[in-house]
Symmetry: C2
Subunit: 469 residues, 2 copies
């Protein structure tokens, strides 16, 4: 206790009253946004530089006090929360510098606290894009996106966060700083540390800065919403699109009529642009750098083939950015619609896209066996097989009783048996550590434990996330 | 000695006479193809299955005998060779099974000994490609390409080997098997082990199988060779191409007139298709999935702009596959031309593409100071800044005296100071370990050493590669 009081004093002196929050001031940082995880911290450190981060980490290390890095706090698995009371939360939210983009090399250096949407905006004037997009982009921070190896809607084309990192700077668990801020794709100078820290959910160090890969801004865009009779047709049409328009597809997002129904009922300002509803919907977006590419013609040709083959029932092509935004909102408000419907269980799995029909059919059957009448809402990213297989209780019921972990385990095991993963893009955090222990091999877990032990022998860096404490 | 004799007997029994080679039979495996690295082995193990690999690794582990995995043996840094006599070489060359490609999911499972060109060929009938291409593709094996995180000519568009791996199977240093053969891009279930093993140069385990990402085969292709007055024009034209044809560029390869001269003088069957020679050459290749894309029109429009601005002096567009192959050979025979010229020093560096002009100018000046009259031959991948900055002695001299490490260190330090890397795509192997120690921070080297120690505490898995023994 004396040790901790001493640490709090030390951090308060180091960071000043704006940089060190405790008591009631810390409340906004200590629970996750869904209010499911988090324990009261000793305090919240809000450093403004790598040197300050290093000093905070070193002080915690010396005092033997655990530390959890926190970004925008929009994760879904509790990785940015304390697992036990009394640790320090290290918020990166005051490290928001955005460097000047390097137009020729197509990269940019940013601090970890930069909000994704702010980066998008900063690039507008430069003819460049950072191609990661996801629902939480208005709050998610670069450091958190790196920590969780975020995926999102365009991963099919541009990859996940780990594919978009050229260089990293990381404060290690003992307070030393690893400067890996190289600005090149090709860097085979030993182990791929930049890839290891990405997705480690803050358990191996604190990401403070990154050099990110950029792409030329597209000059040409086509977006359509299609109605689809069944999952096999979704897949068949997806395959057709990939063959005809491989380079241009930056999004192939699917959702189902139950999901659309919830979104339309609960979320204000949505409108559905087609006459008839259908079992499934596919949102397609294509972009191209060259104005010479006949994007709409390519999209319409694929659509015509899809209509003729019966894979597609109907469709609407956006003619301007307002219409485009209207179509995207139908997809993006899927989580919000279901949240407003009431209690839910979220499952974030991936399967090889060719096995998506099998997965959705079998997962629906098994969920119905576990809890008859349960309502399933699969939606996600057709191109990479990442499915958010979320559940709402049977009509007239408000909860799932004690069935949450049975659902998670059975759905996750099914995804694994089809060659996929029980944890696709949200990470393990604290919520899926037991699931990982149950579903993955002892070899895999012991490899991870060995790496953790090697880099953080005191187990002070976000203990309890990814691996049991 | 008794232990080793016992191990040799055990492996001979396990693998049979074709699977265990020793004495003169092992000679073909014990030196690298440039005959610069390698010590005599106890023997060469040539297992045919993961179970056999695991048995070999476990036997070596129990006997305390070091083991080096070997693929096609076309690496340039000695990673697939023994650093000390008496270890076991584990050749994957008999593990050559190629699975059936999954057309819908765009992936394929292969064994580690599959030769890259054989994989390309096997995919021909399926309308899919594996987009990694490099000079050694006729001999390089998938396992070695994973071990070294190979880059190659199309990394700009499709990424490096680590970006093309979905799942991996690895025999760990104690003989246990990690089955990470998932077939999905999105798998955030803990640390990104697949990315860590890729590029570890066989020091953390033996890759036995992989699930690789495929792409739809392009239906449309345009290739051109351009002459360029200077490096700034190379960069300016590269930028123009990226903006106009971002999605389609699958290769932007540059070389210089000295390199072309050596290739034309020494390599049979090359022909130069333009009337005038020039200081620099750029080979551009574009591909598209859709036949509706006016690729040649896009290329010719960019070319016309380049000619008008003076960035381009002249150019020829290939009209058929034979011409395309002729143009590519001029680029691909750059290393062979210089090899046949005599002694050389190879440097494989990367710099942010925008700084390539600075790098080439400054590196040329510093090399001239180290050895007046030294002839520099920079060539490589414009899009990712990966430059093979290779040296030939001054006219009339046959060697570099004792200057090799001074060149390597000064060129590598320059690349690092510009935000790049002294080791871009060939890896560290045994040849660049001291260079890494000299050029990289103690934090970086200690992180790598900690990971190595955690996964291979006995230091039996390819000791001396990546890290000093």
């Amino acid at each position: 206790m004396i040790m901790m009081k001493h640490l709090a004093q030390k951090l308060a002196e180091l960071l000043g009253p704006i940089g060190w929050l405790s008591g009631a001031d810390a409340a906004g940082y200590s629970r996750d946004w869904l209010n499911r995880y988090g324990e009261p911290p000793l305090g919240v450190a809000r450093p403004t530089s790598t040197a300050e981060v290093a000093a905070v980490v070193a002080a915690c290390h010396d005092a033997g006090v655990p530390l959890t890095p926190q970004g925008g706090n929009t994760g879904l698995c509790g990785a940015a929360m304390l697992g036990k009371p009394g640790g320090v939360i290290l918020s990166l939210s005051r490290m928001t510098k955005i460097g000047r983009p390097d137009r020729a090399a197509e990269n940019i250096e940013v601090e970890a606290g930069v909000v994704l949407a702010a980066l998008h905006e900063a690039l507008n004037a430069h003819g460049l894009i950072f191609p990661l997009h996801l629902g939480a982009e208005g709050s998610a921070q670069i450091g958190g996106l790196i920590g969780t190896n975020a995926g999102g809607n365009h991963a099919l084309r541009y990859g996940m966060m780990q594919d978009l990192i050229l260089g990293l700077e990381v404060v290690l668990p003992d307070g030393r700083v690893w400067n890996g801020l190289r600005a090149v794709q090709k860097d085979n100078s030993g182990y791929q540390l930049r890839r290891l820290f990405c997705g480690a959910e803050g358990t191996l160090g604190v990401v403070t800065r990154a050099v990110l890969k950029l792409y030329p801004a597209p000059r040409n865009r086509a977006t359509a919403l299609l109605t689809i009779p069944d999952v096999s047709s979704l897949l068949a049409f997806g395959k057709r699109l990939r063959a005809d328009a491989c380079e241009f597809i930056s999004g192939m997002e699917f959702f189902c009529d139950f999901g659309l129904d919830m979104a339309l009922r609960h979320v204000h300002g949505l409108s559905y642009p087609l006459q008839e509803r259908a079992p499934w919907y596919l949102l397609v977006e294509m972009t191209a750098g060259s104005a010479l590419v006949p994007l709409e013609q390519i999209l319409e040709a694929a659509l015509a083939d899809g209509l003729e083959s019966g894979e597609v029932l109907d469709g609407v092509v956006a003619v301007n950015d307002t219409q485009r935004a209207t179509l995207w909102r139908l997809r993006e408000e899927q989580p919000e619609g279901q949240r407003l419907e009431g209690t839910q269980l979220k499952h974030d799995v991936s399967v090889p896209p060719g096995r998506l029909a099998e997965f959705i059919e079998q997962a629906s059957v098994l969920c119905g066996r576990v809890l008859p009448g349960v309502r399933v809402n699969p939606f996600g990213h057709l191109g990479d097989g990442n499915t958010h297989f979320n559940l709402t209780p049977p009509l007239g019921q408000s909860g799932f009783g004690e069935l949450a972990s049975e659902f998670a385990q059975r759905i996750g095991a099914l995804a694994g048996s089809l060659g996929g993963s029980f944890a696709a893009e949200h990470g393990l955090g604290r919520s899926k550590v037991s699931l990982a222990d149950a579903l993955r091999s002892p070899e895999e877990r012991s490899l991870m434990a060995a790496i953790k032990q090697a880099i953080d022998p005191g187990n002070l860096m976000n203990p309890g996330a990814v691996l049991h404490q």
